[in-house]
């Protein structure tokens, strides 16, 4: 039955003759481990195509959803593994391609009649490079965007067609949505097509010029090894080692997914490791001659290599061998030297390492946030709306000159010029305790360096507190509960009764309310309003304008009003969103991933 079908199919297609091309190849010189590189490249390429195709099924090439869809792929079963395969196979392919080219050079396999095999093979080098370049930015990470930005500018800097090519690739002036769709098109349609056609031609030429047992004299066939399985088994053993390494890396390490593209993140761009040699080479040229390193030298090198079969003809046996060895050794030594130099330079660059570490923190945080759901506007909004990461940036820029923010262990921001309180846990019971303790009130980390240290509050606390005495904890709990701090919720609900009693103390017209407004007791104009003290809205209003009559009024010390113009947002130093981020950060009010039950 099976035989019958095979005959039927062969009568119509002649497939057995085609397979014979492969299975009946003979190896007059016997099988070799050296010759395994071609097969490794081919199969690694097949892995790349298959995994790419699967990833394509769930990838969304748009600036707002690319990162999110890649994150989603990472969460799918086996998604991380498949993406890891795609990522590491690409790098394995580059290494194997290099080895394969060197092997062909060593054995001078480009000689007549195989010049076209050599030429099509070499044309694949720049195409593979472009393939890698168009793939790396697809997840729309800040790193990928920065890389394509620089690479497009290198392209744009080449004389003549440069600017035009750059504009077409980027789709405008800036890297963005159009760039991503263009890269997607190149990476997933154009390049597979061109590389596919070249590869098929390359392999067809190879078979055409390989001896099969039909063409060789009988005495050569006698006892000669067969390609299948003698050479095949060698090919596949070597390939399975390479694939094993790739699969191991994909399974254990996986492909990285850095911080989503966001212009506010300062990323120091570096090319991938396989381009570092060009990056290093650039350093040895003056800026106006950049293109010599990045465009001219690679192009001239490629052209020289393309013509090698024809140059080789004019060389004596000995000169040809020397030339081939010089090319191989020259390239390996210079590539390795340049790459290692560049890596060491970066390893010892403290600013770069610090920046990378900062990004690593952001990456961990953005992955945590993404697990809670990615909003329709895309992953970059996750960090922009995250007080935990935005707060410190804003605090450092606008507050840390006067205010410290230092926890119990001395960790945090230390004011350059501490003229204002340490705002760590503002509004909490610890904070209120310090406010109501005359000793601490006057210390440097509270109001000691402000004019308030001399104010009626300092003496008022001293005069008034003895009356409260054992009820002081209630007062503290009540004032702190006004802030409704998320990290104090449990305590506040537990002490509802004490808080209710404490509020009565706050409202005492002889005590706190003699200077402060507390709900309907007391009046504004002397001390700050204690209604909702330390809450979201209180803090927002206070930072916006401490000179408001609800707060310090005209007695305000140095604290700037960051948003005193509600009707003219553009005139304010900080916008509403930034103030919100600051307030939420000071209140430690941010998203934390739920503890996963093990």
């Amino acid at each position: 039955m099976w035989t019958h079908f095979r005959t039927w199919l062969d009568d119509r297609t002649g497939y057995q003759k085609m397979l014979g091309l492969y299975s009946r190849r003979v190896l007059p010189n016997g099988p070799s481990w050296m010759a395994t590189t071609a097969s490794c490249v081919l199969w690694m390429f097949v892995i790349e195509l298959i995994t790419g195709l699967v990833l394509l099924s769930s990838f969304s090439p748009s600036a707002s959803s690319a990162w999110a869809s890649v994150f989603y792929i990472e969460q799918l079963p086996a998604g991380s593994f498949l993406r890891g395969l795609h990522y590491f196979s690409a790098q394995a392919l580059i290494i194997l391609f290099g080895l394969h080219t060197m092997r062909v050079l060593l054995t001078a396999a480009f000689r007549e009649p195989r010049e076209l095999v050599w030429i099509t093979g070499l044309l694949l080098v720049p195409l593979l490079m472009v393939w890698a370049v168009t793939g790396n930015p697809l997840p729309a990470t800040q790193k990928g965007y920065s890389q394509i930005e620089v690479e497009a500018n290198i392209l744009g800097g080449s004389p003549g067609v440069g600017p035009v090519a750059r504009a077409i690739l980027i789709g405008g002036d800036d890297v963005g949505n159009i760039t991503l769709t263009h890269l997607n098109f190149l990476h997933m349609a154009m390049l597979p097509l061109i590389v596919g056609v070249l590869t098929i031609f390359h392999i067809w030429q190879l078979f055409k010029h390989s001896p099969s047992d039909k063409e060789l004299p009988p005495e050569m066939i006698e006892g000669a090894a067969r390609y299948w399985p003698e050479q095949t088994v060698r090919n596949w053993v070597v390939f399975s080692i390479a694939f094993g390494i790739v699969a191991y890396l994909a399974y254990t390490v996986g492909a990285p997914l850095e911080v989503p593209a966001d212009p506010s993140i300062h990323h120091i761009a570096r090319p991938e490791w396989y381009f570092l040699f060009l990056f290093e080479l650039r350093r040895y040229f003056p800026p106006e001659l950049d293109f010599i390193a990045t465009m001219v030298i690679p192009t001239v090198g490629l052209l020289f290599m393309l013509f090698l079969p024809f140059i080789d003809r004019f060389c004596s046996q000995r000169a040809g061998t020397i030339l081939r060895y010089v090319i191989i050794i020259g390239f390996v030594v210079s590539w390795t030297g340049l790459t290692i130099t560049s890596m060491n330079r970066d390893r010892n660059d403290e600013a770069l390492q610090a920046s990378r570490q900062e990004e690593e923190h952001l990456r961990e945080r953005v992955h945590e946030l993404a697990l809670g759901g990615i909003p329709p506007e895309g992953a970059s909004a996750l960090l922009q709306n995250d007080p935990k990461t935005q707060g410190p940036i804003l605090f450092k820029a606008h507050c840390a000159n006067c205010h410290s923010h230092v926890d119990e262990n001395g960790e945090g921001f230390i004011a350059e010029n501490q003229t204002a309180p340490n705002l760590y846990k503002f509004g909490s019971r610890e904070w209120v305790t310090k406010v109501l303790d005359p000793e601490q009130w006057a210390s440097d980390h509270m109001f000691g360096n402000t004019e308030l240290s001399e104010s009626d509050m300092a003496s008022g606390v001293v005069d008034f507190l003895p009356d409260v005495d054992e009820d002081l904890p209630k007062l503290i709990a009540a004032l702190s509960a006004e802030a409704e701090l998320p990290y104090q919720i449990d305590q506040d609900t537990e002490d509802t009764e004490q808080i209710a009693e404490g509020i009565e103390f706050l409202k005492d017209e002889e005590g706190c309310a003699s200077c402060h407004k507390v709900y309907d007791s007391g009046e504004n104009g002397y001390g700050p309003d204690l209604t909702w003290y330390g809450s979201k809205s209180w803090m927002r209003d206070f930072i916006s304008n401490p000179e408001h009559s609800r707060f310090y009024g005209m007695d305000n010390n140095y604290m700037p009003a960051f948003a005193p113009n509600p009707n003219h947002p553009t005139r304010n130093e900080l916008d509403e969103h930034s103030i919100q981020m600051l307030v939420d950060w000071l209140r430690q009010d941010w998203y934390e991933a739920p503890e996963t039950a093990e």
Binding site: V54, F71, T232, I374
Partner: protein, 188 residues
């Protein structure tokens, strides 16, 4: 000959292993939607004040919730529509109020069901499935009419509750979705 067979077996083993390393993860990746657990109902939510509902006439309300669409979380989006019918005049004691809730998703092929004020019937505009005011499968008065719906409209858990202040009565619905095209009402 012995050696040749051995080598061929080795080649086949390598090829089979490499294929398995690819095919198994790909199978798991592609089939992920089949094994995804559906989110349980987001619980009962208030959809309307009792006073907004006329007695006997169906009113359509939207259900608002977080809609997870692949990798995107749409906060506070419309996740479904519900037909409410208030059955009596009672507006004092929540336990005596009677309101029925029906999912607006047609059990035939999932279109949105309309209500026709003229015939006092629910009509699905896609394939003319018709339901009476109790949500049961009904007939259209025309020759050769066959109702395509396999079952009546899907009822939803619905109750009337008093607000915290006690001043308002709210209609609470627990929104769920059910499999399309079956005779029985089966949760999605």
């Amino acid at each position: 000959m012995q050696r040749r067979t051995l080598l061929i077996r080795l080649c086949q083993t390598i090829a089979a292993t490499a294929t398995a390393v690819l095919i198994i993860p790909i199978g798991r990746f592609i089939s992920a939607p089949l094994f995804r657990k559906n989110k349980k109902s987001s619980g009962a939510q208030r959809v309307a004040k009792l006073t907004q509902l006329p007695v006997g006439t169906p009113t359509q309300v939207a259900i608002i919730g977080n809609r997870q669409d692949g990798w995107t979380l749409h906060p506070q989006a419309v996740i479904g529509k519900v037909w409410l019918i208030r059955r009596n005049e009672e507006s004092e004691k929540p336990e005596d109020c009677q309101v029925d809730a029906y999912s607006a998703i047609c059990p035939h092929l999932g279109c949105g069901i309309n209500h026709s004020a003229d015939d006092l019937q629910f009509v699905c505009p896609c394939h003319e499935a018709v339901f009476d005011d109790q949500g049961a499968v009904a007939k259209l008065d025309k020759p050769g009419y066959n109702n395509p719906s396999p079952r009546g409209m899907d009822t939803l858990d619905c109750q009337v509750v008093a607000s915290e202040s006690g001043n308002d009565l709210w209609v609470e619905v627990e929104y769920e979705r059910f499999k399309i095209g079956l005779k029985d009402k089966v949760n999605l």
